[in-house]
């Protein structure tokens, strides 16, 4: 239910923002060359990201996150769970057939607080008033007939509406369901906000970050968790590249290597590294060796295929030209094939880095003492959803950062890419 409302709200914000920004910028023309193009639909180069849309998109995510978690950083909220004092009436019937009405007073308090107990006057008649304490988001069983006078008193109605086992009746601030044994299960209104354990508010995620950054997680500082994950990725990737790239070159340059390794590479390429985790654990154990072997395998095939593609992408006229200029085979490899394959290798390295980063987190989920993946899984076992969310955000930021660094390195080392 909440999910559906969230989705509808999101779509409404998307459309609303589009219309509003469109209205606000109407009549304002782009002054670049694209503005002169009459054909833009179907011309991919004429499509530029609308920066306003990007900003609003991020803002909307934070707004919705805050609004649905009751964050103090966000001015508007969806209705939260009911807290405070409320009551509902019930009608009891005794063995003699007489009916009497009484009230159940409820005090609903935020989880974790210790408010004073609520008192109830007994009231008049054989049906006596009751009182109950309920934490927000929880429900409580109330045996309304427990203190009523006389034998065989049973509850027949709530808020004037007849009730029987399995029937639910709504009152002002929640609903009451009768259990098969005749108790009343009282659930105060939950509202639309998420419970902290489902989705922590932005400030509790920030608080978790600050807490873990200063105090560490399970006696290990945050930077050490991150460092271990990164170190595994870098070492695994480096070994994978150190073996895979020469292997790819050999496959691109020699019949025997091509024939020998083709079936292996083509078979291993579609096997997701995650599927290898059990085998790698059995063979190499759950500690560093196993993880680095796994990442090595994740990077190896990608890099081998990239290097092979790099060799086959060499324009034969360049090779011919180099031979005609007197280059030897070793010189052709060093001065023509390797530089010419760099763009492909960089593309492969970016893919491999992404796969390695994903694989390390998954591997740490299985077994580790340090690492972001381990932090997430350990936090989830203690139901610290805020730490889980913080870990996910850190993983995203680091993965994104790695890709940006790779792209920068590519621009610096392969400036001719796509320009020949």
């Amino acid at each position: 239910m909440t999910g559906l409302i969230l989705l509808l709200l999101y779509v409404a914000l998307f459309v609303g923002a589009m219309l509003l920004v469109g209205l606000a910028t109407r009549g304002r023309k782009r002054r670049d060359f694209t503005a002169l193009k009459t054909v833009t639909f179907g011309d991919e180069s004429a499509v530029r990201p609308n920066r306003a849309a990007s900003v609003i998109s991020v803002v909307v995510i934070f707004l919705l996150w805050g609004a649905f978690t009751g964050s103090s950083l966000v001015p508007v909220h969806v209705p939260g769970p009911f807290t405070g004092d409320t009551s509902f009436t019930y009608t009891a019937r005794n063995a003699g057939g007489a009916e009497d009405e009484a009230t159940v007073f409820l005090r609903v308090f935020p989880l974790g607080e210790q408010p004073p107990e609520i008192e109830a006057e007994p009231g008049e008649g054989f049906a006596r008033n009751d009182a109950a304490m309920i934490a927000a988001y929880r429900s409580e069983l109330v045996r309304a007939d427990r203190n009523d006078e006389g034998e065989d008193v049973e509850v027949v109605a709530v808020e004037g509406q007849p009730i029987a086992p399995g029937v639910t009746v709504a009152f002002a601030d929640g609903e009451v369901t009768m259990t098969p044994r005749g108790s009343l299960n009282v659930s105060p209104a939950r509202g639309l906000q998420m419970e902290e354990i489902w989705l922590p508010s932005p400030e509790s995620v920030v608080a978790a970050l600050v807490d873990i950054a200063t105090n560490g997680f399970q006696n290990v500082p945050l930077w050490e968790h991150l460092f271990y994950s990164l170190m595994r990725v870098l070492v695994g990737f480096a070994i994978g590249a150190a073996v895979g790239i020469p292997l790819g070159y050999a496959m691109g340059l020699n019949d025997w290597f091509r024939g020998w390794f083709d079936p292996i590479v083509e078979f291993m390429r579609p096997v997701p590294p995650l599927a290898l985790i059990p085998l790698v654990i059995i063979w190499f154990g759950i500690w560093e060796t196993g993880k680095i072997v796994l990442l090595f395998l994740a990077a190896l095939w990608i890099m081998a295929i990239a290097a092979r593609a790099g060799v086959s992408g060499v324009n034969i006229t360049k090779v011919h030209a180099a031979y005609s200029l007197g280059a030897s085979k070793a010189q052709i490899l060093r001065h023509v094939i390797i530089p010419n394959s760099l763009p492909e290798i960089f593309t492969g390295a970016r893919v491999a880095m992404g796969v390695c980063w994903g694989t390390v987190v998954a591997a740490e989920l299985v077994a580790a003492q340090k690492g972001v993946g381990m932090m997430i899984i350990a936090a989830s076992k203690f139901q610290s959803t805020d730490v889980v969310l913080m870990g996910i955000i850190l993983i995203g930021i680091i993965g994104f950062g790695i890709d940006i660094l790779m792209r920068k390195a590519e621009n610096w080392l392969v400036p001719w890419k796509g320009r020949s």
Partner: protein, 267 residues
Amino acid sequence: MTGLTIDDVSMRFDLPSGSFVQALKNVSLDLRAGELMSVLGPSGCGKTTLLNIVAGFLAPTGGEVVLNGHRVTGPDAERGMVFQQGALFEWMSVRENVEFGPRMKGTPVAERRATADRLLQITGLGDFKDKAIYELSGGMQQRVALARCLANDPDVILMDEPLGALDALTREKMQGLVLKLWKETGKTIILITHSVEEALLLGERLLVMAPRPGRIHREYRLPFAEMGVNQDLREVKKHPDFGKRREEILSMIWEMEEEIMGRTESA
């Protein structure tokens, strides 16, 4: 003996279907050192195959190529190539491209730098030494290719449609440059082209080849290259003989093309 001899060269490609293509049949040719020869012919006449055999990239199925008394068995720095495009090394600057040949031979830095500077000056690229290849226009890239080939000081220069990808104006300028370099360096040059005018201008000798099987159809000895060394190429083109030759060769190639069309239609 000096010079290039193409002795009864044949090239046959066997197809997987069992049939074969006779790309070249019994081609024989003698080129003295310092001669400039252009090769012309309809597509499929084996011009490029012949050039690749002389360059040593292909081994002929019959006959042999002999340069300065020894047989050609593979590519070598004595036979330089200039390709239509895409043969420059984008990861090197203009100067590094030109220095490539001497560098592979282990020529000292100062010496090869001087060679490169001199050739870049001659080809009009003095101000572009440190540019990247992709920053140059197509015409400039071909100048780099010429300079790179000359830096290696080959005996024979083989050009495979070197000006084919250039626009008409740049092309005319480059034709003048090729003539100038030929005269100044005295290299033996074989130049393949699709343009009849270019073949007339850039050939002391002009070879017209015919297809199926690829063979030499006719050979001309022409005065235009020698004339073009000292005067504007547009003046040379105004020469009455030039127009006459052009028409003659054009109609010869047209006939060949039509014959091919007729043969494919009847087949």
